[in-house]
Symmetry: C2
Subunit: 454 residues, 2 copies
Amino acid sequence: MENKVFELLAEKKYTRLRSLLAEMNPADIAQILNESPSKEQLPVIYRILPKALASEVFAYLDSDMQQLIIETFSDAELREVLDELFLDDTVDIIDEMPATVAKRILKQTDAATRKKINQLLAYPDDSAGSIMTTEYIDLKRDMTVDSAFEKIRRVGENAEDIYTCYVIDKSRRLLGYVTVKDLLLNGRDDIIGDIMEENIIFATTLEDKEEVADKFQKYDLTVLPVVDKEDRLVGIVTVDDAIDVLQEEATEDIEKMAAISPLEKSYLKTDTFSIFKARIPWLMLLMLSSTITGAIISSFEARLTVFPALIAFIPMLMGTAGNSGSQSSVTVIRGLSLGEIEFRDIFKVLWKELRVGIIASIALAVVNFGKMWLVDYWLLGTFDSGKQLAEITVVCITLLFTVIAAKLIGSVLPILAKKIGFDPAVMASPLITTAVDAISLVIYFAVAMLLLEF
Amino acid sequence: MENKVFELLAEKKYTRLRSLLAEMNPADIAQILNESPSKEQLPVIYRILPKALASEVFAYLDSDMQQLIIETFSDAELREVLDELFLDDTVDIIDEMPATVAKRILKQTDAATRKKINQLLAYPDDSAGSIMTTEYIDLKRDMTVDSAFEKIRRVGENAEDIYTCYVIDKSRRLLGYVTVKDLLLNGRDDIIGDIMEENIIFATTLEDKEEVADKFQKYDLTVLPVVDKEDRLVGIVTVDDAIDVLQEEATEDIEKMAAISPLEKSYLKTDTFSIFKARIPWLMLLMLSSTITGAIISSFEARLTVFPALIAFIPMLMGTAGNSGSQSSVTVIRGLSLGEIEFRDIFKVLWKELRVGIIASIALAVVNFGKMWLVDYWLLGTFDSGKQLAEITVVCITLLFTVIAAKLIGSVLPILAKKIGFDPAVMASPLITTAVDAISLVIYFAVAMLLLEF
């Protein structure tokens, strides 16, 4: 498809290009434009699109593409696109544009719309208000089904969701909702107030948008009303925006677990320096925190030169402990995120990790004993002091304790971090790494001192 | 809420409990039952629920709770619940039950339903067929809007989504769709064939369910038709199931990045041994792969005893390289998952990581130089051979090269893994860890040999 588009463009076969594009889905056209290598051609392709399709494509474009196209627009063209966009999309676009472009967009909207846009722009970035739209259908409780249908037919063209209509009183307080299904399955003269559902799931404007998205998943919603502090209906959130929030949330969790500050845009659209800034703080912190492990090793330096074979197993012990700990912490962090694990489960989690840790550490120690005997002793000749059996035993016993300790630390720290109000994914990773690294070395040298003349 | 429910239950105030529950959302009731500590009370609470609500609650219950309740059901009660459930939910339940319970459920369904259930059960676990339902509304192209409404009113009660109706021909081939919005905004005598949209996004029964879920996100869908090999409409997937797939997918990616095989159920519902089995293979593999790092250290053992200060920095160097590599690999793996990064972007990614790696490694090396001078030399006295400056230089130069190498390996391996058909999240993690660990040691000792008499 993509090649065909650029081929027709190069050959200036605009009529055929227009009919090819008209058959395509707006999201697919936007993807071609977003990934297009030559930016000059964008406005050309965009202008070829039939008008209604052009506005739909516009909403799917990346913000840098949107800006590029807006800059080629006349005021009349800009107004046309804005008229077709849903208000939440307009707000998202303004939010991403440089001030001059944002001002130009606002100038092309009528006073009422501008007021609404400014209200939506004022909500904090991570709130329900920031992802809602004001284009919903509201009904009064004394309307009949027939008059409800009439209203839907009148205003439905511009509503983002017409299938759930909200029933409000004179001061716009949310009383309940009816679905178009309810309207279709009831008599034409039935009264909305009698058939509406009053038991309603809603969000408040300042609620965290991640909580809002979780409600969509928990209650299988496609749309959710948003009310202000006085319980007045001010907007709706639709499921497509909720999905975007859920995906962003998962990406952020993944980034935080890998010690990266979340990126604002997608990776390929983010400049080198922003990626650097997102990564360097944790790298720096983790590098400096390994002063602790360095100091522990230094203080045992003299003894290590007497048992040099023990040096070779430091990376394996720290690595296995680190992997064991991160398995536990990542599982628990995701569970906390999905609401599957809560603070009251802390002892259940500890008990489970203790048992998993015991079985896993025994399995690892046994396999490691065999491997050290066969590979390190016979094959590689790592041991040459005549103390090989004792040294192998030290390594395996260390493994037993460190794996269990790492699993307990890895599982409990995220839960505690969340309890005291920190982000478990952010707080847990550096703390757990540092703690597990230090503890595994201390256990190693302690076991060595007990069993060897270390 | 939860406490109130168990309080009323303990006091046997069943009438008040019933009216309390009747006001609640089925997902909330299911959550209370799922998290209830005493399993004996479940059937009691469940029986108190008004019938229509009971079936809704049932669909939200965890499978062990469903089994518990089914076992207390008479055949008549079971039939009642099954009649209310959507077919995809019934299939999910049967899929999770032991064979005897599954058989009992199938026995309570009529022959036609049983046939449909068996067809749905036959689709592979990760296919579009496995998450679809057959309860959709289909129309013929020569119907009028009025007759379409009539059909919706007739069969709508049992359809999972009534707002998108699919237009099919005599052999059930999918021709297009009309939404209820289209029906409302067109004249009553208009012909479906004239107003239907033919440009349609669909899935095929055997398509990977993750690809299906990605389509919901890309095209902002709430429902998606599924066709078989002959283009015949066989079912629909609704957005609530797509959200579940997206969330599962993110959880699986997170688990794989942390070297865990994905769990079937939620963490707290998974038994100790299953968690052990999901974690031990990678722990074992990574432990054994550190034989490589061990062997590298062993072979430099004699020289390390001459420069014992260098031992203390091994964990820091390997740790910083590991963190740098995992930052890159995790970013790239998530980008691949979200479709933001593709194979053709490999050089863009490498170039970006090279630049980020250069800036980051210089920043780390400079800070580390200062820190080693101040903390390790002056404060901790790690160096005592009179070669401190040379040794510090060795560590910092190693840092420069390892961070860049780690970022390049971490970013390119997942892309290559995906290209040759492996799961980037699974393949990348152990390979990257092993490669980065080994490479950082080799660089360390190589730099030491060049700059010191090592």
